[in-house]
Amino acid sequence: MRKITGNKLLVRALKEEGVDTIFGYPGACTIDISDELYKQDDIRVILPRHEQALVHEADAYARTTGKVGVCLVTSGPGATNLVTGLATANYDSVPLVCFTGQVARHLIGNDAFQEVDIVGITRSITKYGVTVRNREDLGRIIKEAFYIARTGRPGPVLVDLPKDVMGELGSADYPQTVNIRGYKPNTSVHMGQLKRALKMLKKAKRPLFLAGGGVNIARANEVFTEVVNRTNVPVVTTIMGRGAVPTNHPLFIGNLGMHGAYAANMAVGECDLLFSIGTRFNDRITGKLHAFAPKAQIVHIDIDTASISRNIHVDVPIVADALEAIMKMKEYVEPCETAKWVSQIQEWKQEHPLDMKKHIQLGPKDIIDEMNRQFDDAIVVADVGQHQMFVTQYTEITEKKQFITSGGLGTMGYGFPGAIGAQLGNPGKRVIAVSGDGGMQMNIQEFATAVLEELPLILCVFNNEYLGMVRQWQKLFYGKRYGMTNLRAGALYRRTNGEEMPEYTPDFVKLAESYGAKGIRVTKREEIAAAFEEAKKNEKTPTLIEFIIDPEEMVYPMVKPGGTLEEMIIDC
């Protein structure tokens, strides 16, 4: 039998798994793998400028294509730079397989150059992690890694590759089947439980669907919309669930939670049946736990048993994949009598519609409204902070659009690399990133990647010269003491007791241009449309549009931290 090195088998395995793109950054322990990848043309290798951005790019690639994202980094610092990205993917259930280089087996444990115990470090933020200790296990482990990453509740898997194992000759076979005795993801729906839940739905006077990210991950949006149409039951979504039904659907109320729509939070408070799918009832959506949906019985469908009845008590638990469950629901659901309930919700909507004060100059909503007008089939990627909440509140997500963001971990710096990954996976689509001036600087080096890959990204930077979300809390709850959030503060600010500050740095427009990208600065509402039109013309170059925003802009409504959902600050 012909024998090949581990490095060769790895490349072969990637092809067998249908991998067309990998995100890699080289180093001493993976140089042989780089060499094998150099010798072939089937797999495109993207070279980001930092491993944290690298893993976000693979993550967004996976979220927007439904494929498994693949990372290859070296040992030591290459591996530790993955940590934030792995946690991001883990919280938002994104399928990744991350290969990390490792020192040769005889050096492991010796504090060798660029040695870290990356499997140990990432144990609590990966779905699975393993060091390949024998060459003969390599094929099986890679096969299992892809299987574990994409099945059940998807998640990141880390495979650590000691350099000597990869150099060793061994079997050229890549297994076709997987059998892991401790891992049998659930694929069927318990029909008895589901029928019980549907009976409750039929009987309820004020039923409400709560759709989480699971509906989007399972790509169940269309079927779910059919179920909503058939039942006439109104819908609220989490941030990750936005788009589960088109946001212009008459039965869509809005997002719930800390910055949810008034009507959505009121509906949760008043409903008598909360039929939830693919959410883990994170603290940001529940507010004070014992006062969450106080009048409702709760149905909870989730692929992950551990998500059920963890944060809130559930009356009917159903362990199932969202798509499977919703397909079954479609067969059995009947129209519900919800006219009165829906009109009550409409009243709440009219009482406090989602809106922002009109500004003389330029407000966040003006920008997003224009985005909605000009782009009806875009992928929108939001970073983390105030702008992210504006995007989740106002961006229309219809059938042809997709919205992604770091919802669970809330990783600043996700937006820009996220847009790169999304664009690489969807070359024909328009990809728009929205970031704050803080988050944009956390992975600014990726301009090089975006320019060299000729990506026509539109990067909207909402620049308010502050770390706005923390500032918002300081304004509301900390007596306007803006500690650590002023991005113009430094030595001069300290020397003059806050009297003087230098000009804002960096100049985003010049910075973009220095990388070979385009830069536009927008300070007035009338300039927004033209800026987007201009950006659209750059077919092979990213365009950064810097929007100068008033730092006093606030995200409302806001549920007070630790308060109940119905206690919202509507405006100040």
Partner: protein
Amino acid sequence: MDNNMKKRWISLYVENQVGVLSKISGLFSAKSYNLDSLTVGTTEDPTVSRMTIATVSDDETFEQIKKQLNRMIEVIKVIDFTDIFVRMKEILYVKVFKCSAADKAEVFQIAETFKAKVIDYGRDSVLVEFVQTATKNDAVVKLMKEEFKTIEVVRGGSVGIESISMMER
């Protein structure tokens, strides 16, 4: 959350691989679950290890612990020992120092009462081996601490297996 706080036992079949013990114990610390005792050893199948875990928790947390363990790739099977008949024992060594003649007599009497074995003996010290339930061992440790000035205690943690016919613990 204090409702039904009590000691509970779980038996686990896990892959006998590097890092599995660390992953299981890491789960308890990461999620702030109480971990009272944990024992592990290989089974008749050398690729499989069996763990017996004792934890003090309420109903909801205990449910969550079982679910979290179940979703680990390396965990093959989770058995809840709470409401089934099991045989469960823990080994306990107690060494008593600075014994007077009267102390030694007392040690022997305690050993006899608890059906323990005196397994070693020195000029002024005695070593006793108890194999009984962890609860009884708790009582023994408490008693010995009260009775003697200087003792040394080593406990093995409970190991358990389902009963065949015995309808008692």
